[in-house]
Symmetry: C2
Subunit: 197 residues, 2 copies
Amino acid sequence: MVDTQNMEKNTATQILDVAQEMVRNRGYSAFSYADISKQVGIRKASIHYHFSTKDELVKELVKRYREDMMRACDRISQSSLDLDQQVIQFANLYRNGLESQQICLCAMLAADYAVLPQSVQNEIQTFFQVAEDWLSNLLQQGSDARLWTCHPSADQEAKGLIAMLQGAQLLARSQTNSTDTFEQMVYPLLKAKFSKP
Amino acid sequence: MVDTQNMEKNTATQILDVAQEMVRNRGYSAFSYADISKQVGIRKASIHYHFSTKDELVKELVKRYREDMMRACDRISQSSLDLDQQVIQFANLYRNGLESQQICLCAMLAADYAVLPQSVQNEIQTFFQVAEDWLSNLLQQGSDARLWTCHPSADQEAKGLIAMLQGAQLLARSQTNSTDTFEQMVYPLLKAKFSKP
DNA sequence: GTCTATACGAGGATAGAC
DNA sequence: GTCTATCCTCGTATAGAC
């Protein structure tokens, strides 16, 4: 059995990890190969061996992020939590990010959308699509079970909720006590809308 | 009487106009003095005469934006519209921006928050404060008139609504038919929450 | 107020040695 | 895989002429 605790991460993974933290904190235009270089401990020319261009790097970043996100959603689906608690858990993903100054990667890149290459724009669209599909399915289940109602549709509610969570992250980070502000914005609304009667 | 229609805008105003469009579209790190230079028709060195540094320029930009925003809000307050329609008008400010690919200036800068100088961060905080105060006041009026109820407070509802509008703008811009997507996310929720019984 | 010229660093990217 | 060395462009900012 492999010791995953003490196993060194490979360089490509380290690069993605550092890049992700930087994009989620500063955005696409405000991080550089030089920044990654310092934190990973290799020269910036070496990064090109793993990711030929910055655009390629960010494309892979979004792809990995989407897969991670889907895994996190699946864990929520497969938990034995009540449906209303699953909605809360979904919101918690955003709150937890904010606690370490991390905005959703795709919320940051949505802000940078106009300067991104087509390949990255496509990955972002896919991210929003799969996130919305997953959440829509959850909300529809709750609607079917008569726990709440969706206006005008589970799909629209899902879009609106994701928008709310991403907007709340952005707004909260400019406030002192970001996490508190986020919680006060998000959870009362969730409880009013998606709770068992 | 001055002919404001045909009066040439002064250079400083032209610079701010162009800079604003660029920040709202691309973000803080992705626009440059060279970009402004081309659109205004002066050399980039000349811009420094009007705004000594980029940070100074953006600080003035946020200040002007906040004042414009407050004027727009005051026009809504002073209209004879019903309170629920005033909420719709507030949301319309965001929809109208999106129609010309323009995200709220302070939503964009909230994404760039980590790389902004303190002076600009302060202006952004003030923007959110005054917007929230204005909207909170409106929501409280509706609550007093028993048109709707605020949970847990008008202040929290105002914060949440602004987060929703800004998040919806960001999410919508990555979709085909941005404006339609925005409207479908925002207006059903507004009508459910803030409408006359 | 606006210009030219220039300084100086940072940006992404490549070539070739090891 | 990682290094050094280098290229070329773009970034903000300044000095000094007009």
